[in-house]
């Protein structure tokens, strides 16, 4: 009778640290940023697979349509940027992408304005969501000069007329020194880099705030006539 096989002797493993020995906060900046980000927006809150049942109205389409328009604007604008600012004037394909860029901008502003009006009538800043409204409103305001710099970067008669007419307002408020509408190179830089980065950054912040606070609940019917004011609340929902 032979002896039963035995497991080879494993090297000694270090003891896991006791729970009480774990540091309260990560030692590195990276760890702290990670913990703060996950605490603010855990994955299931960032990308949930369900929504409250009241999120069932056509008005919600205009928020995602604004995002979708921005995606088409950036995509068509990137193609135009890859080929250079003069390309669309002398090729049919270039003119096609310029037209897509123009119409996606028109669609962007249209759906964004409907989205803003919808959110106003929903008093969407309620329940600690004031920052959601503020980032959305500022996005609209920053998108206006972003579009203006595009119009004056067209290198055609429109650009000549718009730049020479709008320069007086810019000069009058004192920004003409660094926002010179008749300087194509400067306006092109604003249009393809500085202002799009600002718009996209604001939109990212806006969407993250929506995910953090959730879609604003309906106004309670009982309080609709004499209820408390719809001011922003300090605590988040």
């Amino acid at each position: 009778m032979s002896a039963p096989p035995t497991q080879p002797e494993l090297p000694a493993q270090p003891e896991p640290p006791a729970a009480s020995a774990l540091p309260a906060r990560p030692a590195t900046w990276t760890g702290r940023v990670r913990e703060a980000a996950v605490a603010a927006l855990p994955p299931e809150k960032l990308l949930p697979e369900s929504q409250p049942t009241y999120v069932a109205s056509w008005i919600y389409v205009f928020g995602v349509a604004s995002l979708a328009s921005l995606v088409v604007i950036v995509a068509s604008g990137s193609i135009l940027a890859l080929k250079g600012p003069a390309w669309w004037h002398y090729t049919g394909v270039g003119h096609f992408f310029n037209s897509i860029h123009l119409w996606s901008v028109e669609l962007f502003f249209f759906v964004m304005v409907v989205h803003l009006w919808g959110k106003y009538w929903m008093a969407a800043w309620r329940g600690g969501r004031a920052r959601v409204w503020v980032t959305g409103a500022v996005t609209f305001l920053v998108a206006v000069p972003c579009a203006l710099t595009g119009y004056v970067s067209q290198q055609n008669f429109d650009a000549q007329w718009i730049s020479t007419q709008a320069k007086d307002a810019m000069n009058a408020v004192g920004v003409g020194a660094f926002f010179n509408l008749t300087n194509f190179g400067q306006m092109y830089s604003y249009h393809v880099l500085l202002l799009p980065v600002a718009v996209v950054g604001l939109v990212v912040a806006h969407v993250l705030l929506v995910r953090r606070h959730g879609v604003v609940p309906p106004i309670p019917l009982a309080s609709s006539s004499s209820g408390p004011s719809d001011g922003p609340r300090g605590a988040s929902s």
């Binding site: 409250p52 119409w103 307002a169 001011g231």
Partner: protein
């Protein structure tokens, strides 16, 4: 301060949702929306394309409107054009400097894009013309004269041109002091006491028609050039851009910037901004641009701060649009 704080942070009965949830695919929704918007943009592109009217050039201007070109150049020379008298950021004059009360923000950053209309638009382009002893003598005589004499020469030359332009705008008989050769486009001006200016202007017109002024203004600082401030302001002082804009319904009293060439929609979101220019006191104010920008800045601030504005933030609760938006929710409840 505490009262203000209380006003800004009014009571809010909005509670976190504790009701039921339904499946919802955010990523799928975004992908479908991108597809729909892209399709809409393509359909609009196929149906309407986009406008692209060729830009004007100084050569085109001098050929189509030779009298207007010479008259504008004379104003640049004697320092009476809109650009010459503008002020910051182009020069130290003050005709276009706007103010609000005691504030002159236009002056705060000084002259960042210096333009000397006499030198940049007339003298420097003329100096690029080689082998013309008559012009060389005229330029030497002009530059050797005192500033007062130069100005008097320029004004003496500009006066009959201004009368000619004014008569044309008012549909009156054109004065005989200015004549245009219909075959060559040359402009002859009967101006006494204009010194060497007629010779200089005749050469400038010839240079401009050949495209030399466009080239001179664009390459005045360096070979690679992206700043069109000088040629654009020169053309804006003249009449060609305005003539084309009127034909395309782009003037302020027409559709302005809300329109593009060819009746395409332009920056329609600027409707409120352009609206103020149509009414008093903004319409006639010498500081109309600054006034309108300040009004829009104030309105923009209010727009951003709606959640903190009593009354404006309460209106949605009193107007039952929300009942339409959440109709299904209220029916289910």
């Amino acid at each position: 301060m505490s009262r203000l704080g209380a006003m800004l942070r009014a009571k809010d009965d909005t509670q976190p949702w504790s009701g039921s949830y339904a499946p919802y695919d955010l990523v799928k929704e975004l992908c479908i929306a991108v597809g729909v918007i892209a399709l809409l943009a393509i359909i609009l592109t196929v149906l309407f394309s986009s406008p692209d009217e060729k830009p004007s050039t100084i050569a085109q201007w001098s050929r189509e409107l030779p009298v207007n070109f010479v008259a504008t150049a004379a104003e640049e020379l004697d320092g009476t054009s809109a650009t010459a008298e503008y002020g910051p950021p182009y020069n130290h004059n003050s005709s276009s400097v706007q103010h609000f009360l005691f504030l002159h923000p236009q002056r705060w950053l000084g002259v960042s894009h210096p333009i000397n209309t006499e030198v940049d638009y007339v003298i420097d382009p003329l100096e690029t013309i080689p082998d013309d002893p008559t012009l060389k003598a005229a330029l030497a005589a002009y530059q050797a004269a005192p500033a007062k004499t130069r100005k008097a020469w320029g004004e003496a030359y500009a006066k009959p041109l201004e009368e000619y332009e004014a008569a044309g705008e008012e549909n009156k008989p054109l004065p005989k002091t200015v004549a245009v050769n219909p075959s060559t486009g040359e402009v002859s001006v009967q101006a006494s006491g204009a010194g060497p200016v007629p010779t200089m202007m005749a050469s400038l017109l010839t240079l401009a028609k050949a495209g030399g002024v466009d080239g001179s203004l664009l390459t005045s600082s360096q070979f690679f050039q992206t700043d069109y401030t000088k040629p654009l302001l020169f053309m804006a002082d003249g009449g060609l851009l305005e003539k084309r804009a009127e034909a395309e319904h782009l003037l302020g009293e027409q559709w302005g910037m809300m329109n593009e060439t060819g009746s395409y929609p332009g920056q329609v979101w600027l409707w409120l901004y352009t609206f103020w220019y149509q009414i008093e006191p903004f319409k006639a104010s010498p500081s109309g641009d600054l006034d309108v920008m300040l009004v829009m800045a104030a309105l923009s601030l209010l727009f951003v701060c709606i959640p903190f504005l009593p009354g404006v933030r309460d209106l949605p609760r009193r107007v039952p649009v929300y009942k339409l938006i959440w109709r299904e929710h209220y029916q289910d409840a």
